[in-house]
Every structure is written in structure tokens, then in C-alpha cells.
Point group: C2
Chain length 124, copies 2
């Protein structure tokens, strides 16, 4: 029989269930931070969060929880685009940086040509 968890998870506390020591949510969703759990529960649903955590290794679960919380927050803030808004903004930023880099490269080439022209003029 599973031992009861001394620190129940936010899900078990919400549903007034006994939280066992083997509860996969307990280490990441303490009942002291109910908002964190409410966020992923609202977007993914409790069973999907549990399934995701059960499908990966122990040491990966912290990262998985962080990424789910980030995705859930993005979806709550922007129900239409979720975290794809961030992806598009970053892609836009990359496109702008690439344009600036190309312009700068052209400027370097021009400056070097000018310098070489002057150098050859000085040598003749």
C-alpha cells in the first residue's frame, strides 16, 4: 500500500484525495502553489500532465514541468497563438538581424575597398 505524502500535491488537495508518496505531481506541484498547477490543468488537463511525466525519466521531469508551465501560460495569455507567438516574434527578430548583418557586411567590403584604393594611391 502506498504511504501517504506528507506534502500533498495541488491536484490531490484540490480534489480532497489522499496524495500518495508515489504521486508523480507532488514534487513539482505543491499545494502551496495552487496557481502553478491550475495553469497546466487548464490547458493540458490533469491526466495529460500525469501521462507526460510518467512517460519520461525522473531526471527530465523538472524540465518537462517548466516547459508545460511556460506553454500553458502562453496559451492562457494568448488563446489563439499560444507559444507560437513567441516563435514567430523570434523568427521576425532573426530576419531583422540577418538584414542588418548583410548591410553591415556590405559596409565592411566598401570600407575595405576604399582603404585599398587609398593605399595603392599612396604607394604610386
Amino acid at each position: 500500500m502506498a504511504t501517504q505524502n506528507s506534502k500533498p500535491c495541488a491536484s490531490c488537495k484540490k480534489h480532497r484525495k489522499k496524495c500518495s508518496e508515489s504521486c508523480v505531481l507532488a514534487p513539482y506541484f505543491p499545494s502551496t502553489d495552487p496557481k502553478k498547477f491550475a495553469l497546466v490543468q487548464r490547458v493540458f488537463g490533469t491526466s495529460h500532465v500525469i501521462k507526460t511525466l510518467q512517460g519520461i525519466e525522473d531526471y527530465q521531469r523538472g524540465d518537462a514541468v517548466n516547459s508545460m508551465v511556460m506553454e500553458a501560460r502562453a496559451r492562457v495569455e494568448d488563446p489563439v497563438h499560444g507559444c507560437t507567438r513567441t516563435v514567430h516574434q523570434l523568427q521576425q527578430q532573426i530576419a531583422e538581424l540577418e538584414v542588418r548583418l548583410a548591410a553591415m557586411q556590405e559596409e565592411v567590403v566598401t570600407a575595405r575597398l576604399k582603404r585599398d584604393e587609398m593605399a595603392s594611391f599612396l604607394l604610386t
Copy 2:
């Protein structure tokens, strides 16, 4: 009474339910593409997908479906990081571009100084 949909959605077909014409999933998840629905169903769950679509305007639903499909695909491919992997890769790419841009800017300044030095030498 809601009229039956002539083109049932992938969810209703899967659960052998009558798909009404007012089904919010039907325009975006046709039964001819069951994999598309299976993807979002696996990550978000049917009720969360429906809730998200019902919570936004009609004209935004196509974009919301695309972003949910993208997120779900990323989560299935990488259950630990989901689409935050793409976000981190893009952030990394931006950091690299900014380093290159700073180096290029320094090169432009150096080339200009050299050119100005030569020009003043030619004028004296």
C-alpha cells in the same frame, strides 16, 4: 434540434457519435485526417481543444488550430521540452547573430578609422 453534419469531425467519427452542424471541431478536424485530431487530442485532450475554440472568435479558430497542432507535434516529438526547444534554439541563434553583428560593427569602425587616417595623410 441540431442538424447532422454531412462531414463528421474526426472526434465524432472516432467515438461513433452524431456530429452536429454546430460542432466546433468539424471545420478544422475532418474525419479524413484523423492523425491531425489525434495529435491535439493526445496532448491537450478533446475537451480542452473544444473549450479553447469556444472561447475565441470564429475567425481566430483556424489560427488557434494551427498553433495547437504545432505545439502538440512539438510535444509528441520532444515530451520533455515541447515547443520550448524551438524557442531556446531561436534565442540561441539570436545571441549568435548579435555577437556577429557586434564584431562586424567593430570592423566597420576600424575600417572607417583607417580610411580617415589615410585621407588626412593624403590631404597633408
